[in-house]
């Protein structure tokens, strides 16, 4: 839509304006402590690589109460679950990396799918204005280019910002984003040439080749599934689930009831496909009985199943968190490379 600049000296004032009547969420803390949380306009950081955790928890908390009931038979509706509702408030997120914003759009299509809308997700997701911060210097684990993303990616954002000499460059992407920036004192500017140049530079700094995993989406599903490398790929896996915990698109959850003598709540908690309990039938049958099936499920889901359901968009956004966090160094880039072409033997 339109482009703007904010001078360095006006940044605090700018963040004050965008967070008028809204909570401001932005990365705070350094390194492993870098996290997305409510902050004040004067504390906005521009010099971080990415948050340690993905931003999904802001829309899909690790534990969330959905429903509640009471057991008092003298009152109406005893033993009847009531909606606890969604207490989402208007907020503005500043500093989402393009990979994470794209990750939220992938999860959004699951939470608001072709048949059902998850009200708890929808409330939070749609009340958040999202200002992204483009990546000028990718981290070693970054590979967004390989999975169809870009260091200047725009998906899922209302505004894309980038750090430029003397301040911030802004590109509005939605009407809500345009209205938001218009309400500030940001000056309009023409930045498309600069953005294009910086984007190409940032691509060049990534080790990943552009769209190098696209071929996976073109291969036959059962051929990728039956490739002989899976037992070898899964060999080191501990099924600890840290990859699913950090992944910006992993959306699986468990629903559990908790109760006391007075009543109870139904809540959902993050779950992981790495757990054998995840798919265990009450009968004892388990469709994914060993870690080979479970590891294969995770990679197939990210790189094959989600693209089938979401018009070729990968369920992996190249943020690289699982690459860094995996205790046994399973690297999704290696696995994706194996999934690109038929493997003849188990050992690759």
């Amino acid at each position: 839509m339109t482009e703007y600049i904010v001078k360095e000296s006006n940044l605090t004032e700018f963040f004050q304006a965008v967070s008028q009547n809204r909570t401001l969420l932005s990365p705070v803390g350094q390194g492993e402590k870098c996290r997305l949380e409510p902050t004040t306009p004067d504390k906005i950081k521009l010099d971080f690589a990415n948050t340690h955790l993905s931003p999904k928890a802001s829309f899909f908390p690790q534990t969330e109460r959905l429903l509640a009931f009471h057991k008092d038979k003298s009152l109406p509706n005893s033993n009847v679950y009531q909606d606890l509702g969604d207490k989402a408030q208007d907020c503005v997120l500043f500093g989402l990396r393009p990979c994470d914003a794209k990750g939220l759009t992938v999860a959004n299509k699951v939470f608001q799918n072709d048949r059902f809308v998850d009200p708890y997700w929808k409330g939070k997701y749609e009340k958040a204005l999202k200002i992204g911060l483009a990546c000028l210097k990718p981290s070693p684990q970054c590979f967004c280019a390989a999975v169809g993303g870009s260091p200047f990616g725009e998906q899922g954002l209302d505004v894309l910002a980038y750090v430029k000499e003397g301040g911030l460059g802004l590109k509005t992407l939605t009407e809500a984003g345009e209205a938001l920036i218009k309400s500030t004192k940001a000056e309009s500017a023409s930045l498309s040439n600069e953005i294009q140049k910086l984007e190409q530079e940032a691509y060049g700094l990534q080790k990943a080749e552009k769209d190098s995993y696209k071929v996976i989406t073109e291969r036959d599903l059962m051929e990728v599934y039956n490739d002989p490398h899976w037992p070898f790929t899964a060999e080191n896996c501990l099924n600890c689930g840290v990859c699913t915990f950090f992944c910006p698109t992993c959306h699986c959850f468990d629903i559990q009831d908790e109760q006391s003598e007075k009543g109870g709540v139904r809540m959902r908690n993050w779950d992981t496909c790495m757990s054998s309990l995840f798919t265990l039938h009450a009968s004892g049958h388990n469709p994914r009985p060993t870690k080979v099936e479970r590891v294969r499920q995770r990679f197939m889901h990210k790189l094959k199943y989600i693209p089938i359901k979401q018009d070729g968009v990968f369920g992996c956004t190249g943020c690289g968190r699982c690459v860094v966090m995996c205790p046994v160094n399973i690297d999704i880039r290696d696995v994706a490379a194996k999934m690109c072409r038929p493997t003849q033997t188990a050992k690759v």
């Binding site: 009847v80 699951v110 994914r288």
Partner: protein
């Protein structure tokens, strides 16, 4: 906004113990709030989450047909935590039902066809619902010949026997009941269901099959059906997998890219042939 996680409050109206081993009970539920029955608009083949406050939810196929007004039926096998708790609940107790979920058998697409319904054991529930629905005067004329082949390990494990006995007397449905074992007082067919299907199955011309049962029954019956000339596109199975949300979100019931809860549970064999056997 409509919250798909919120169950409709229901009251247990009646509990029937179905078998000598007391593992199977059929629950009859009535909606607490007038108007909820209309909102719970379903077709046979769909399922719902039986929601026990404080205990959890279980996905169970709906055994009643929408043509039976005023109540819902579910047959529950006592297996896990929630189903065991449910078995100890009493008529009058209040709980919840969330649904309907999943897709029904493809009745619309199969208009004009002959239907062969094959059920093994207590997987009969949604097929019994299909039978009731098809025999309803509003629907019967839309389909050709209907055959129902139903087998269980023993005669005492044949559920909804009153319905089947009544249908045996009708001339617009052929009912074949069979017991795996010989039993006192049983004068019907005896044998392994796939063998019985081989003997009594009507011709495959212009026919479709609904097939539900234990995996071993499905496997061998499928072979029999293919030999008899049925095509993979015309054989419909109802899958089950562990489920939580029932909405295609919580992520555990997938078979390849398809969620059994949201995209199934009814799939044709042809649809499943290009997917992993993770069910």
């Amino acid at each position: 906004m409509n919250n798909p996680y919120l169950p409709y409050p229901v009251r247990i109206a009646e509990i029937t113990v179905n078998d000598d081993e007391r593992n199977l009970r059929t629950f009859k539920f009535e909606f607490l709030n007038p108007g909820d029955e209309e909102k719970f608009s379903y077709l046979p083949g769909q399922f719902a989450e039986l929601s026990v406050p404080g205990q959890g939810e279980i996905p169970i196929g709906i055994a009643s047909s929408p043509t039976e007004k005023g109540y819902l039926l579910f047959t529950v096998n006592r297996t896990g935590h929630v189903s065991t708790f449910l078995h100890y609940m009493k008529p009058g107790d209040v709980m919840g039902i969330r649904g309907p979920l999943g897709h029904p058998y493809p009745f619309e697409k199969l208009k004009g066809k002959n239907l062969v319904i094959i059920a093994g054991g207590f997987a009969v529930t949604t097929l019994r619902a299909a039978g009731v629905w098809l025999l309803d005067p509003a629907n019967r004329a839309n389909y050709g010949k209907i055959s129902f082949i139903y087998g269980a390990r023993g005669p005492s494990l044949l559920l909804f026997l009153d319905d089947f006995k009544a249908w045996e007397k009708r001339d617009d449905i052929d009912v074949f009941l069979c017991s795996y074992k010989e039993a006192k007082g049983w004068d019907g067919l005896v044998g392994f269901l796939p063998e019985v299907v081989k003997k009594v199955c009507p011709p495959a011309d212009n026919a479709a099959v609904f097939l539900c049962g234990a995996p071993v029954v499905i496997k061998f019956t499928q072979t029999v059906l293919l030999e008899a000339g049925f095509k993979n596109e015309d054989i419909f199975l109802s899958l089950e997998n562990r489920m939580k949300c029932g909405l295609g979100i919580c992520g555990r019931c997938n078979v390849g890219p398809e969620y059994v809860c949201k995209d199934g549970p009814v799939f044709s064999v042809a649809e499943l042939s290009g997917l992993p056997r993770e069910y």
